[in-house]
């Protein structure tokens, strides 16, 4: 493999293989600096079943708490997305028994009012802002809960598009609100009840039902392999 030596990215932290000491659930382990928390769990010999999912920062399975050296502040993260550093203390978040309301999303007649029946605790937010501080996705959760209560479902659905449902906003809530579940309800209601119906989609469904493409299908499906390949080559 020819390669000009000038095209090499320097990564001193990688070549040095520096080891750091981290505390996982109260026990100290030496692990390579810079690996993710999930990889540190594997490295320290732990079998991970609960606490790992997509490994891409989308599923929220690996919600974790961590604290850096000498800092009293306990922070939250997704363990598959956070690199370890020396002196870090880490613990995985256990499953939290939040209450999810159940509902028939299509049968709702007044979704903005129904919010108060499904999640009567939602308007009890005391503005402590702990949920916002707990969000590893940097969503302004507190603001979202208020907007939900005030009926601004559209803003909530936009704000929570980043939500991975890790649920870290829930254990910290002094009013026992599960903000991620409230936001999910609100977003679904926004989509199902307050968003325009796309006319073009209905037109296309009807076209298919009415057999508008039948002749084209018939022509294509009776082609020989060669004819089909030639036809495909004409579509650019």
């Amino acid at each position: 493999m020819a390669q000009e030596d000038s095209n090499i990215i320097d990564q001193p932290e990688v070549i040095r293989h520096k080891m750091v000491t981290v505390e996982i659930a109260g026990k100290k382990y030496d692990v390579p600096e810079g690996i993710t928390i999930i990889k540190a769990l594997w490295y320290s010999g732990q079998e991970v079943v609960r606490g790992a999912g997509c490994l891409g920062g989308f599923c929220g399975a690996c919600a974790a708490y961590y604290r850096t050296k000498d800092d009293p502040k306990v922070r939250t993260c997704l363990a598959c997305q956070m690199a370890v550093q020396d002196g870090m203390s880490i613990t995985m978040m256990p499953p939290f028994p939040a209450r999810k309301a159940t509902y028939d999303i299509q049968a709702l007649t007044d979704p903005k009012q129904d919010l108060f029946n499904l999640y009567p605790e939602a308007p009890l937010c005391r503005n402590c802002n702990a949920c916002t501080e707990a969000c590893p996705q940097q969503i302004d959760v507190r603001e979202g809960v208020w907007k939900a209560v005030f009926g601004d479902f559209k803003s909530v659905s936009e704000m929570f598009m980043d939500c991975v449902m890790c649920g870290m906003c829930t254990p910290v809530c002094i009013a026992d609100i599960a903000p991620n579940l409230v936001a999910l309800y609100v977003s679904r209601a926004q989509g199902a009840h307050f968003t325009e119906k796309p006319v073009g989609l209905d037109t296309r469904i009807k076209e298919i039902q009415d057999g508008r493409f039948n002749d084209e299908w018939a022509a294509i499906l009776k082609m020989t392999e060669k004819e089909l390949a030639d036809h495909c080559a004409t579509v650019k």
Partner: protein, 527 residues
């Protein structure tokens, strides 16, 4: 050298590259490129399967070993059922949720079992979008043709026609559940152009399409009170005296106990094989992508198809170390992002199919025009700042919030600096052979989603996976539910294992491997 110093060439050549139009390869050049550089054509990575219904067919060595592996269940295992149901869905990703919801809606009693949590899957990570021909200038026929071209003409026509024709009704279903697809000013669904497609056809929810769909489907599964068995890994299927599928045996990963579920039909929605790291590739796949469903189906005698072809997504992150293998969405290229080698040159039309783009990246790197990291990785640049230059400041942040955040965590601003990428193992193009109702050649055994094969040919087109999951999840669920209403529960045995073990013995398979793998062996043993 410092990464910023190396990135300068991308910034310096940007304006010149913007003037440049790069044609797609001719079919002949394309074939030549793929044969020379695509990992599917590395002979030594493959071997024939020694026994079973696909005896003699070639697949990657990692998968062949698992397919020939022994079952963890002994012949005399106690098969008293812990649960009985009409439809048993194995897998909690997009296909599993869609199958469970449709079977439930059709009146069947449904159990959904998954080895991780409901929704922990690849589906949740799908960023690029979902191909559905809703635009007036587009049609299901054009969608069919594009997919066929992408799949090298090897797609199952019947499956493909079903998928493209049912797409629009799937969009309507998802909208009715509250999925927030991006819209145009007039309220119509916004469509983006995807790699290998002749028309804009990708429905998106910014770069969180899979997450948004999965949030809604998971919530709906819970609202419908479908019975869940989470952290339960399927380790064997059960069969009656005629070989029809009658249920499955699970291992509860919390307490290591076995759980037997008797079911009139089983739908395997177990996804792909990325975590087997075939040919040593990093992967974009989720933790549980270990091909379990393929092993279970194969022991039952279900035929596999096109299991010699895999998709290597062109843009897996190479830097920083923490993100290796993680996906950089194709959306970046859809919106005009260039691929740039160490000399500051483009080398492929970025919107060509995934296999072509991946092959060309591998070519650049093998011919010395790649950029290396000190950890021994190699890659090419993806010019992300170009999007802001082209469409105005803030474009990257607005259209790709997930990706911005992912790199921001490591101090990288992708709207200012390009990212280094290399192909990553992404998708299993083939799988268990199914018919248009998603059923295998084993009676009452259905397979939906990535675990199934035939639909995508030898290369899946971007955005077709989410649609595949929804369409065949639905068809399997509805077919299984209707059938369950008119049949008794079959006998629950592991009779099929006798035949499988006899064949293994005859072919001298004593490799000692027990499959399925369940989870990849990442835990470091004592050194």
């Amino acid at each position: 050298m410092d990464i910023h110093a190396l990135q300068q060439i991308v910034h310096h050549t940007r304006d010149a590259r913007r003037q440049q139009a790069l044609p797609k390869f001719s079919p002949a050049d394309r074939d030549q490129l793929i044969h020379k550089y695509h990992p599917d054509y590395r002979e030594r990575a493959y071997r024939p399967i020694r026994f079973g219904i696909n005896e003699g067919d070639k697949t990657v060595v990692e998968l062949a070993a698992l397919l020939e592996g022994d079952s963890p269940i002994a012949d005399e295992f106690d098969l008293t059922a812990d649960y009985t149901t009409d439809v048993l869905v194995v897998g909690g990703g997009g296909a599993g949720c869609a199958a469970a919801l449709h079977a439930h809606a059709a009146g069947a009693k449904v159990i959904l079992a998954t080895k991780l949590r409901l929704g922990d899957s690849n589906s949740v990570m799908a960023q690029g979008g979902m191909q559905i021909s809703v635009a007036p200038e587009d049609s299901p026929v054009t969608h069919f043709v594009d997919t066929l071209k992408g799949g090298h003409m090897q797609n199952d026509h019947q499956l493909l026609k079903v998928m493209v024709e049912e797409g629009p009704s799937i969009a309507k279903w998802l909208l009715s559940l509250g999925v927030l697809f991006d819209r145009d000013g007039d309220g119509n669904l916004h469509v983006k152009k995807g790699g290998g497609s002749s028309k804009p056809r990708l429905l998106t929810c910014s770069d969180y399409t899979g997450l948004e769909i999965m949030r809604v489907l998971k919530d709906e599964v819970l609202n419908q009170k479908i019975q869940l068995l989470e952290f339960c890994a399927a380790i064997e299927l059960t069969s009656d005296e005629k070989g029809a599928c009658t249920g499955a045996i699970f291992k509860d990963l919390d307490n290591q106990r076995h759980v037997v579920v008797a079911a009139k039909s089983v739908i395997l929605a177990t996804g792909g094989i990325g975590r087997l790291h075939i040919q040593g590739f990093p992967t974009s796949n989720h933790y549980g992508a270990t091909g379990d469903g393929l092993c279970l189906a194969y022991r039952m005698g279900a035929k596999l198809t096109q299991i010699d072809t895999f998709q290597y997504h062109p843009s897996g992150a190479v830097y920083p170390e923490q993100l290796i293998g993680a996906l950089v969405t194709e959306g970046i290229r859809s919106e005009g992002g260039h691929l740039v080698n160490a000399k500051g040159e483009r080398f492929v039309n970025e919107l060509d199919t995934r296999d072509v783009v991946s092959s060309s990246i591998i070519r650049e790197c093998e011919e010395g025009r790649g950029i290396r990291t000190m950890s021994g990785r190699i890659g090419v640049w993806l010019d992300t700042p170009l999007l802001d230059a082209e469409h105005g400041p803030g474009t990257v942040e607005k259209h790709f919030p997930a990706m911005m955040l992912q790199f921001e965590r490591f101090g990288i601003d992708i709207s200012k600096d390009p990212v280094l990428i290399y192909p990553t193992l992404h998708y299993q193009n083939g799988g268990v052979k199914i018919d248009a109702n998603s059923e295998t050649n084993v009676t009452n055994l259905f397979v939906a989603g990535e675990a199934s094969g035939g639909l995508h040919g030898r290369n899946r087109l971007m955005g077709n996976s989410l649609l595949d999951l929804m369409v065949f999840g639905k068809r399997s669920g509805m077919t299984a539910a209707v059938r369950a209403a008119a049949m008794p529960q079959g006998k629950v045995t592991v009779g099929h294992l006798r035949g499988f073990r006899a064949e293994a013995k005859k072919h001298g398979s004593t490799n000692g491997i027990v499959s399925p793998m369940i989870l990849p062996p990442y835990t470091r043993k004592e050194s």
